[in-house]
């Protein structure tokens, strides 16, 4: 029976049916559900690794150990894992190794929209692109066979629209978990220059064989239609093409690196006009042009964002855009939740008018209105190194008005080494670790400092306070960021100090906090003078009644965290038990 599955669940099912027994990942939208789903199978090992580099290294080890292994990450995660990635391309595999890169055209939840098919070309890896959940499952299973047959890691490249769309999938039988024999083989697995030179030869031979395979693989197929227009496409763009242009001829590529030169050339010859439809970079188009095949692509289609059927119909079938009604509507940007601990941090930092190097997580919303208390956000872990860099550029005086903020999961991911740099190179910055006991942004995954594994088993909990002290930070403070006065006092003291310090702002994410709410709030209209100070903290638990010029609590959203109570200078917000 067919079942609806998001693309990510289908990938995990495909890996399971193919007999994968190990999976590792660091969360990241849109990749997260791949390994979180895999972890539900009883007879497999799955883990949240501290970051993507470690996830891939665990994956390489498992493959070397003979297991079929799945590693998943979002597109920018591959940057973190790029070092082992380029070299595992040389060593090849023992058990099949499939690495999923979930790209995010349109940047629904990302800081850039890089096209990771480029990694396949640079690292010399086969890259497979499915177009719906059924293909996501089937192609994943096939990717394991390709990995073992050609002795190569395989990259499965998906995008947000595939990862998070549900389409029908026919489930197959659970495969057998087979462990291949492990044999020591230093020339293959020890990448010293002398051995690596030998492996590079193998890599180039492998690419030639893969290019031959590309000509006949079932991953690529031609759907003949009207030959006046031929489209070459892959991934979700294939669905948009079929929707918009049901009658044209289509060469659908499931293997996008290496490309099938003969198949493409023959398709090109048999159609009057040839167009490549691919989101983001002209990866396929460039290769065709290098081969001297006349093709149109990015002169018709944008390099930016997601495509759509209507865009394709407009560019290639002369369709008119749907009319706009021109209603002007206030935008609805995302907001920190009611009771979010991060609100206290950014409210305080804004009041203090300090410079804030920021990082990535729910707390990046602290950069937006109304708190607007973040100066930078580049990549995970950047806040701490950037604070040191700013201090070295502008001096210690500047550093006494400078803080770095970083989430707990992000700190474990890539904040530890820059903190070591601060100690080693005698920075004086103040670092605030936002310890909300979860990886909230990506949907509340556990991490080493929560003390719980991906399978929800208790494990040794990473003690952030002791870790930071061991690095050599002598001033470590732990404080609840929603106790505003106390929190501000601590930040002031630590900024004044000409030594590095770490403040652990500790309070559980409001969405996972199970502490019962025992109070309710109301605004006393007699006392409220309509100053809007409470409104400016940007909590949906409190709103402004325009007609009466008074604030009011929204009882369905307020979680009684008490922050607005502390912000009100007139004590107009009252707390009652029950």
């Amino acid at each position: 029976m067919k079942r609806l599955m998001i693309g990510n669940e289908a990938i995990s099912r495909g890996a399971y049916e193919a007999g994968a027994s190990v999976a590792a990942a660091y969360p990241g939208t849109p990749s997260t559900e791949i390994v979180s789903n895999f972890a539900r199978y009883k007879d497999v090992y799955a883990e949240w690794a501290p970051n993507e580099k470690v996830a891939l290294e665990v994956g390489i080890g498992a493959s070397l150990g003979g297991a079929r292994t799945l590693v998943a990450m979002k597109h920018v995660g591959v940057n973190v894992a790029a070092d082992p990635l380029y070299t595992v391309a040389y060593t090849g595999v023992n058990g099949g190794l499939v690495i999923v890169s979930a790209d995010d055209p349109g940047m629904h939840s990302s800081q850039n929209e890089q096209d990771n098919r480029g990694y396949g070309i640079f690292a010399k890896l086969p890259v497979i692109e499915p177009s719906d959940s059924q293909e996501a499952k089937d192609f994943t299973a096939l990717a394991f066979d390709i990995s073992e047959e050609f002795d190569t890691p395989v990259m499965l490249r998906v995008t947000t629209r595939l990862s998070h769309s549900q389409t029908l999938v026919e489930e197959g039988e659970a495969g057998e978990r087979v462990l291949k024999e492990y044999k020591k083989n230093a020339p293959k697995y020890v990448m010293l220059p002398g051995y690596a030179r030998g492996r590079h030869v193998e890599v180039e031979k492998r690419m030639v064989k893969l290019a031959e395979y590309a000509e006949t693989t079932p991953l690529n197929r031609i759907e003949w239609g009207d030959r006046s227009l031929g489209i070459i496409t892959s991934g979700v763009a294939y669905q948009y093409v079929r929707e918009a242009l049901p009658n044209v001829s289509v060469l659908k590529l499931g293997l996008v690196n290496p490309l099938p030169k003969n198949l493409i050339a023959s398709f090109a010859q048999q159609v009057e006009r040839l167009v490549v439809v691919e989101e983001l970079e002209p990866v396929i188009e460039r290769q065709l042009k290098a081969w001297g095949i006349a093709v149109e692509g990015k002169e018709l289609f944008t390099l930016l964002g997601e495509y759509s059927p209507e865009m394709i119909a407009q560019r290639l079938a002369g369709a008119e855009p749907a009319p706009s009604h021109g209603l002007e509507i206030p935008p609805r940007p995302p907001l920190l939740c009611p009771g979010c601990p991060h609100r206290g941090v950014f409210y305080t930092l804004r009041r203090m008018r300090v410079t804030v190097t920021g990082d990535i997580g729910c707390y990046t919303l602290g950069a937006l209105s109304p708190l607007e208390a973040m100066d930078s956000c580049v990549c995970m872990g950047a806040s701490i190194g950037m604070a040191l860099g700013m201090e070295k550029a502008r001096g210690q005086e500047f550093a006494s008005r400078l803080v770095a903020v970083i989430g707990d999961s992000t700190f474990v991911h890539s904040g530890i080494t820059p903190l070591i740099d601060i100690v080693y190179n005698q920075g004086t910055s103040t670092i605030i670790i936002l310890d909300n006991d979860t990886t909230a942004m990506t949907g509340h995954q556990d991490h080493p400092a929560t003390g719980v594994t991906i399978k929800k088993q208790p494990t040794k909990k990473l003690d952030l306070e002791n870790l930071v002290r061991a690095i050599g930070i002598e001033h470590v403070r732990v404080v609840d960021p929603l106790k505003l006065d106390e929190f501000e006092a601590v930040v002031r003291e630590e900024l004044d100090r000409r030594e590095p310090s770490v403040i652990i702002a500790k309070r559980t994410c409001a969405l996972i906090d199970r502490t019962p709410i025992t109070t309710t709030l109301y605004v006393d209209d007699e006392v409220c003078n309509g100053c809007r100070a409470c409104i400016r903290i940007g909590c949906t638990g409190i709103y402004y009644k325009d007609n009466e010029k008074k604030a009011a609590i929204n009882p369905t959203t307020c979680v009684s965290c008490g922050m607005c109570v502390q912000v009100c200078k007139f004590d107009a917000i009252k707390v009652v038990e029950g």
């Binding site: 939208t29 629209r161 929707e243 706009s324 009604h325 206030p330 609805r332 940007p333």
Partner: protein, 195 residues
């Protein structure tokens, strides 16, 4: 049905649009259609504007509904109905839950909530119905069942058999909330809609 049915479900992150789209999609699967559903995860779930797109028919290609081709727009909030109106067919049907959730620019006083938004929507799309699903849900015993009241209204508009929808609700709603949700669904089905 040779044509694809396109349903757009819009709301505010955290309002429960996901359960609604899941129920509709499950019914379509049970009826033997090809079905695709696409949704926003990630940052927008934190109180931002969110949309689920459900498509079913004999064969569905794109998971997204081409702009201007949605048959029905179900909005959990008034402003969100307006935001997605351009995605509707010229004679498309609009169902709006009479809820107002102020977005940040309104909360902070930088912009006004357009008070006449319903009138403007009705002018553009005469097949608009405004319902108070929240009130009905409370009457059924739980405010959280508002999304299932909306499922009732929507399923009638797009012609899904009620017994099939109840079957899907039984599959997707936890047992202890089932009675309230079934009651909410039945109340929704009774609603009369402009179409």
């Amino acid at each position: 049905m040779s044509q694809t049915m396109n349903v757009l479900i819009a709301g505010v992150g955290g309002q429960g649009t996901l359960l609604t789209s899941r129920i509709i999609a499950q019914v379509a699967v049970d009826l033997g259609y090809d079905v695709k559903v696409t949704e926003v995860h990630g940052m927008a779930q934190r109180g931002g504007s969110v949309v689920s797109e459900v498509r079913y028919g004999e064969k569905v290609y794109s998971p997204t509904i081409p702009k201007g081709q949605a048959d029905v727009l179900l909005a959990f909030e008034k402003l969100e109905a307006a935001r997605w109106l351009d995605h509707l067919k010229p004679d498309g049907i609009v169902i709006i839950n009479d809820e107002r959730v102020d977005p940040l620019p309104v909360m902070s006083g930088k912009m006004k909530y357009p008070e006449d938004i319903i009138d403007r929507i009705v002018q553009l799309k005469p097949k608009t119905t405004v319902v108070n699903a929240t009130k009905t849900a409370i009457e059924c015993g739980n405010v959280k069942a508002a999304n299932v009241v909306l499922v009732g209204i929507l399923s009638k508009v797009i012609g899904l058999p009620p017994e099939k929808v109840e079957e899907a609700i039984r599959k997707l709603v936890p047992p202890k909330a089932l009675e309230v949700n079934l009651a909410a669904f039945r109340r929704g089905v009774e609603w009369s809609v402009n179409q």
